[in-house]
């Protein structure tokens, strides 16, 4: 059976054979995996597929397998967030997006690897070991949804769900040569998704093509009353898939092409913009002067929220518990042993930024910068329909290359995190290669204007063949 099928092809295969067979074939591929993309493979996947076969393939994703990032709650499966501290924690409830997927008939293949609590851009901070980039097994797949991107790139799932707090869907999508969307804040319910930084993150789909991203968004998008930040608004994602960018106005913010950008990346992105021009779009440079402060603002806000979100992991109720003389020493020991270095670093920094005496200097200032960054996006997007820039300034780096130097690692989020501060939608699509490593083009749009973002991405895909390239090492 062919790897790398689109959802349409998967559905065709299911019609020809059965959901059970299709699921089993993916499980076979996963068995031979060289990338450590899955933290856990579902024991019930085949049984679920069989049930769907018995019911007669109802629902838009009937029998279609999917991989889920290990910070999204699925009843009966450990939700580890890539951390030791959640070892053995099995949620008693499904995330909203999981309910939606199950209603649509999807079959969950397993839970994918990630940076611990989504803190990282390389999937190296996972308690379950690093995931390899299918294009070069010595390199990282990006992060934090590295497992989800890698299994899609390696043909171990037709598509997957990730989460994006500062680029965690788009970064691995770019590094692994797949498509990844960070929806508008509020477009997808966060209910059941373990929070890293609540005000920034969204669940996002990863797939081999733009169409499958839209298919997935039509299933998982929409209002959920259990998430107070979800917005009651209908969007028809698949209807937006039209091969036409005539008259489209593209803004190119020069701030996204800053110091240290790889020249092949810069060239690939400009080539893409010129390709759009040939297809009938126009482009202009736009200025976003506050983008240079975005990274600092992003990290302060994310770490501050994280320091509070992760306080609940104290060994008292669930997950890993260490020993202690009393409750306080038990909590200290549990957190010392249960959290990895990067998570502890961010909790400490976040705690510091919120402390009396520093709160105004760091946290409050970061919020003000966030407002300025938002205004930059508003201003730029009032003149153009979409913004284009490199998703990542560089291609996938080697494992171990940056992990000892957190600041360098943080800097790799420079082009993705401003989007989360602004809450706007952004997609990464494959747009070229350098030394056999994929390059991602980032297309950003107005809040809730996923249709324009998707149409722009779809048109590019229809007129290029980057998305059809497969990593030779896992072929």
């Amino acid at each position: 059976m062919a790897k790398w099928m689109s959802v349409a092809q998967v559905k065709e295969k299911i019609r020809e054979s059965s959901a059970e067979e299709v699921t089993a074939s993916y499980l076979e591929v996963i068995e031979k995996s060289k990338i450590n993309g899955y933290v856990a493979v579902s024991e019930k996947a085949v049984e679920q597929a069989r049930e769907i076969d018995a019911k007669g393939h109802e629902g838009p994703l009937a029998g279609v397998p999917i991989a889920i990032k290990d910070n999204i709650s699925v009843v009966g499966m450990q939700n580890s967030c890539g951390s030791k501290i959640l070892e053995g924690y099995v949620p008693p409830f499904n995330a909203h997006v999981i309910e939606k997927l199950q209603e649509a008939g999807a079959v969950i293949l397993g839970k994918t690897n990630m940076d611990e609590f989504a803190m990282g851009s390389s999937t190296e901070t996972s308690y379950y070991g690093p995931t390899a980039n299918p294009w070069d097994l010595e390199r990282v797949p990006g992060g934090s949804s590295g497992g989800s991107a890698a299994v899609v790139a390696a043909g171990e799932a037709p598509f997957a769900l990730g989460s994006d707090t500062g680029g965690s869907v788009r970064c691995p999508a770019a590094f692994c040569g797949v498509v990844g969307l960070k929806p508008t804040y509020g477009a997808v319910s966060r209910y059941g998704v373990v929070a890293y930084a609540n005000s920034l993150e969204q669940v996002g789909p990863l797939a081999n093509n733009v169409t499958d991203i839209a298919v997935l968004m039509d299933v998982i998008g929409g209002y959920d009353r259990r998430d107070s930040t979800s917005i009651d608004r209908k969007t028809a994602y698949q209807e937006a898939l039209v091969d036409d960018v005539k008259g489209l106005k593209i803004g190119v913010p020069k701030e996204f092409f800053g110091e240290g950008i790889h020249q092949d990346v810069e060239k690939a992105v400009w080539d893409s913009i010129h390709r759009y021009e040939e297809l009938g779009a126009s482009w202009e440079e736009v200025s976003m002067p506050n983008i240079k402060y975005a990274l600092a603002s992003y990290y302060i806000i994310a770490m501050s929220e994280a320091s509070s979100n992760l306080a609940r992991f104290d060994g008292t109720r669930y997950g890993f518990r260490d020993r202690g003389e009393n409750w306080h020493s038990m909590v200290s020991a549990t957190r010392a042993e249960g959290f990895g270095t990067e998570v502890k670093r961010r909790i400490l920094l976040g705690t510091y930024a919120l402390s009396a005496g520093y709160h105004d200097k760091y946290y409050l200032k970061a919020l003000k910068v966030r407002t300025l960054v938002k205004q930059d996006f508003d201003r730029a997007l009032s003149k153009v329909d979409v913004l284009m820039a490199p998703t990542m300034p560089n291609p996938a780096f080697k494992k171990g290359e940056k992990i000892e130097d957190p600041l360098t690692l943080y800097l790799s989020d420079v082009n993705t995190c401003p989007i989360n501060l602004a809450g706007v939608p952004s997609i990464s699509v494959p747009c070229g290669f350098t030394d056999g490593l994929p390059i991602g083009l980032q297309i950003m749009g107005k809040p809730f204007d996923e249709p324009t973002v998707l149409r722009t991405a779809y048109t590019f895909e229809q007129n290029t063949d980057y998305h059809t390239k497969r990593p030779p090492e896992v072929a």
Partner: protein, 495 residues
């Protein structure tokens, strides 16, 4: 008379009240009716703080908070805004409490109390909404406990924390404030003060207009008064010995009646407040006019109406309106034709006195029956019927029973195990007031049989008269009216 406040005492209170009349918790759909349930049975992913669960604000809790704000004559915020208060404690499942910080739902209110020198205004600084943590249950006593169990049934219960200005000038005023405050909340039907853990108080107190000390987590009105009395004495003694009061937090040891230092200002915790990103502000300013219309008649207004409508004294009206259920019971008695003034005396003085004597707290009223529970053991329940009070007041007004007999009837109903009407009790016990000639006969006999006492009385010993009245009562088996007996004896002896 103006109260001088000679010791420069200033008392401010922070009162945590559980909105336990609401059906569901603050941020989830769990039932708030957990008091008689097994531990951890009223929980869900949200109030257990499971990873990924998100809060949804209970609109009814916001409505209740606005109601309270309006009753306290405060200003209501335009929109809701919540913050996280971060600290570690095993009863706190998320490692933070969702509360309000610099934008509370209510600000600048007031409550008028009966102060040291008549009506006294206590300012309300603010009132805000927050969630209750769970409850720790120690196995055995706290000191010797081998372990602690956590019950999250309470976790996520809606609370209102009300902060007063330091306007109270004595422990008595603090207690009066709490009584009034609780009364208002019960009028609003948002709070049942009889439930365990329903109200917790922190008290700030300073003497000689000096440094304030906070006493944390006192669980009863009486406890607040006692803690304050002790703490004022302690502070005055420190100053008398030439010492200084340091700003600190103290704990009240209910058993020993003393306050003990917990932590000083330097050790104060940093809660790292920041906006709760999982809750969007909810615009509530448009709700206010509608809620204002639904406000019930509040204690002060009811008291004035009682005085005017029923012609009763201020003291009786105050007492009757001190509990909404008692006020409703009284009105129920009057509505069924009992004389309002007599009913006021029998309800406010005798009936209420008998309840207090038995440590019974009023806990329900359904239009026909008023129910009580034992203050120390809520399992002990009791009740009294409107119709019984009506019958009793009528019998008394018509002169068919003496006041002593009427008291006896109330006691019998409260202490009895079988359900009996006042008339049945009077008949069974032979409590009907004796006919006048029977009393006259008893008086003649008493005078004849007690020559010595008669002599003493005529010689000026008033006490002997009481003895003679007692003899008459004995002869009539208590059915005589004592006042009548007394008059008859005097008439007989002194003409």
């Amino acid at each position: 008379m103006v109260y001088e406040n000679p010791d420069g005492i200033r008392i401010g209170l922070e009162i945590h009240v559980q909105l336990n009349k609401l059906k569901t918790k603050m941020f989830c759909g769990c039932s708030s009716d957990y008091h008689n349930s097994a531990p951890n049975t009223h929980t869900c992913p949200v109030c257990l703080g499971l990873p990924g669960a998100l809060p949804v604000l209970n609109r009814k809790a916001v409505e209740a908070a606005i109601k309270v704000g309006l009753a306290l004559e405060g200003e209501i915020a335009e929109e809701t805004q919540f913050h996280r208060k971060n600290y570690f404690y095993p009863d706190l499942p998320k490692g933070f409490q969702v509360t309000q910080y610099d934008y509370p739902i209510v600000s600048k209110g007031k409550v008028v109390i009966e102060g040291e020198d008549g009506e006294h205004v206590v300012g309300i600084t603010r009132a805000h909404m927050e969630e209750d943590p769970g409850k720790l249950v120690h196995i055995g006593s706290i000191e010797k406990s081998k372990g602690v169990l956590i019950d999250y049934n309470r976790s996520g219960m809606p609370l209102i924390e009300t902060v007063t200005e330091p306007d109270m000038r004595s422990p008595k005023e603090a207690r009066r404030f709490l009584d009034k405050f609780r009364n208002i909340l019960e009028y609003l039907d948002v709070f049942d003060g009889n439930l365990e853990g329903a109200m917790r108080v922190d008290a700030n107190v300073s003497v000689y207009w000096g440094t304030r000390v906070e006493i944390k987590n006192i669980s009863s009105h009486k406890g607040v008064e006692r803690a304050l009395l002790y703490e004022i004495m302690r502070q005055k003694n420190v100053i008398r010995r030439g010492g200084k009061i340091t700003q600190e937090t103290r704990h009240f040891d209910e058993g020993r009646g003393v306050t003990l230092s917990m932590r000083t200002k330097e050790e104060a915790e940093d809660y790292r407040y920041f906006r709760e990103p999982d809750l969007m502000p909810m615009r509530v300013s448009d709700w206010v006019p509608g809620i204002r219309e639904t406000l019930p008649e509040l204690p002060d207004a009811k008291r004035s109406r009682f005085i005017e409508q029923y012609g009763i004294t201020d003291m009786h009206a105050r007492s009757l309106t001190s509990k909404i259920m008692l006020a409703d019971f009284y009105e129920g008695v009057c509505a069924k034709g009992a004389d309002p003034k007599t009913a006021a005396t029998w309800t406010a003085d005798v009936f209420l006195g008998e309840l207090n004597y038995r440590d019974l707290a009023i806990s329900s009223y359904d239009g026909e029956t008023i129910g009580f529970i034992h203050a120390k053991d809520p399992q002990v329940e009791n009740s009294f019927k409107v119709s019984d009070m009506v019958e009793l007041v009528k019998l008394f007004s018509e002169g068919k029973v003496s006041d002593r007999a009427a008291v006896e009837v109330i006691r019998s109903i409260l202490d009895g195990t079988e359900e009996k009407t006042p008339l049945q009790i009077i008949e069974e016990k032979g409590l009907f007031k004796a006919e006048d000639d029977l009393v006259t006969k008893a008086v003649s006999e008493t005078i004849a049989e007690n020559a010595a006492a008669v002599q003493d009385y005529l010689g000026g010993a008033e006490k002997s008269l009481n003895f003679l009245v007692g003899q008459v009562m004995k002869k009539t088996k208590g059915t005589a009216d004592a006042k009548t007996a007394r008059e008859l004896i005097i008439k007989e002896l002194k003409g």
